[in-house]
Symmetry: C2
Subunit: 253 residues, 2 copies
């Protein structure tokens, strides 16, 4: 039986680490990159030395610069590119993506644009992708996020991660691609919460780094994390309430 093919759009450290997971799980992995040096390194050395040094990516991982070829016959498409190029790349992906493939992104951050009236418009990554992709992907964009460094995933250290989709059925299908004995994938339905949490916690992480630089201790860092969690939760609930208020939760907070 031919192994299923997964396409990874983006060849940074996180995309490469996830390629190593999917390869370990027995899939054929096609990585799309614009960087010729990275492509050659992956195809000839089975490594991405620039972004993930000293790690073999595993069997059946190859890289290409031709997006149509990368996406052809793909069972699962994983987009993991920097947030500021997401819209541009999603537009290109839209031209070649198979109609019924599964789609997941693993990009942190927001698209921030200025509106005509001078106000700022902020979109989550799944919103940007859904705007650019065919309407058949509406509400089907799943997000992969979680507390993990790419290097440790590539080294197969025990890691958990979350996969959020408004559809339990889609989440369960994608979960099967990624799960193995060192990579445990939880699913939930909270796409907004996962996209916000994954990005906003990096602000707290910056503050924690500053706290270390100032020679403060564990107490100060714990204060930042504790209050950060409270702030992020508050922000998530506010956005939930103003964007897609559903059910009782809107009346409670």
């Amino acid at each position: 039986m031919t192994q299923k093919k997964v396409s990874i759009i983006g060849s940074g450290s996180w995309g490469s680490a996830l390629a190593s997971v999917l390869s370990y799980n027995g899939y054929r992995v096609a990585i799309w990159s614009r960087n010729r040096q990275v492509i050659d390194d992956i195809n000839f050395n089975n490594k991405n030395s620039k972004y993930l040094p000293n790690i073999k990516l595993g069997k059946n991982v190859y890289a290409l610069s031709d997006l149509s070829e990368v996406l052809a016959n793909s069972s699962l498409v994983l987009i993991v590119v920097p947030s500021h190029v997401m819209r541009e790349i999603a537009k290109e992906v839209a031209n070649y993506i198979p109609e019924n493939t599964l789609l997941v992104h693993a990009t942190k951050g927001f698209e921030v644009t200025e509106k005509n009236d001078g106000n700022t418009n902020v979109l989550r990554m799944s919103e940007v992708i859904e705007q650019e992709l065919p309407s058949t992907f509406k509400s089907k964009v799943t997000v992969l996020s979680g507390p993990s460094h790419a290097e440790e995933v590539a080294l197969r250290l025990p890691t958990t991660i979350v996969l959020a989709s408004s559809s339990n059925e889609i989440a369960a299908k994608i979960q099967k691609f990624f799960s193995n004995d060192y990579f445990r994938v939880y699913t939930n339905e909270d796409v907004i919460g996962v996209e916000l949490g994954g990005s906003l916690k990096n602000i707290i992480a910056l503050a924690a780094g500053i706290s270390d630089g100032l020679k403060f201790g564990d107490n100060t860092k714990a204060a930042l994390v504790t209050r950060g969690l409270a702030e992020i939760t508050r922000m998530g609930l506010k956005i939930l309430r103003t964007s897609r208020c559903r059910g009782l939760v809107c009346y409670l907070f």
Copy 2:
């Protein structure tokens, strides 16, 4: 004007660190201890070398073995003794505690006893205290907890902490005793949540230590913390539902 007096029942590292905070804030602090060596060290050297080495406790901190003297004319009583002696000591405190004083505890853990039918009975520390103290203290026992090491508090590194009381008014009064420029006290009404969280997170901390011992990385520790938080939340909601279900929250979870 005479400074207000605070009584600290217990002379371990956390009690001593909190004594240093209260001294810094201008209170007279009477520490109760059964350990003659600790009492002498506090009174003659202004230190508790056994539990908090190399730290001066500050002005107006003294220690006594006579509980009635420690508690006399106290504006605030802080109990911070090991959980397994809480009931015994609360019984003694009950004999001497001024009727209208404020009462706060900072002890982690539970009282676990076996019932006649062989089942286990588990009580939170504020429940144990309320059972032993005069009925005027019913629902007035406040808990102080939070992410902090005693040594860092004594070194005046920035620290946040939480004070939980079913009465906002009582919480606000106690908050004033402890707050200063390096020690920030948040208040909330969730006594059960704070008592459970402060104890249960130590189970996760043990697992995190084991993970380090096994040479796992940040991902594994982050997995423990993330899933630990989910489990602790679930347990808290379960206990809330079964013990004192109030309002809408009971129907939601």
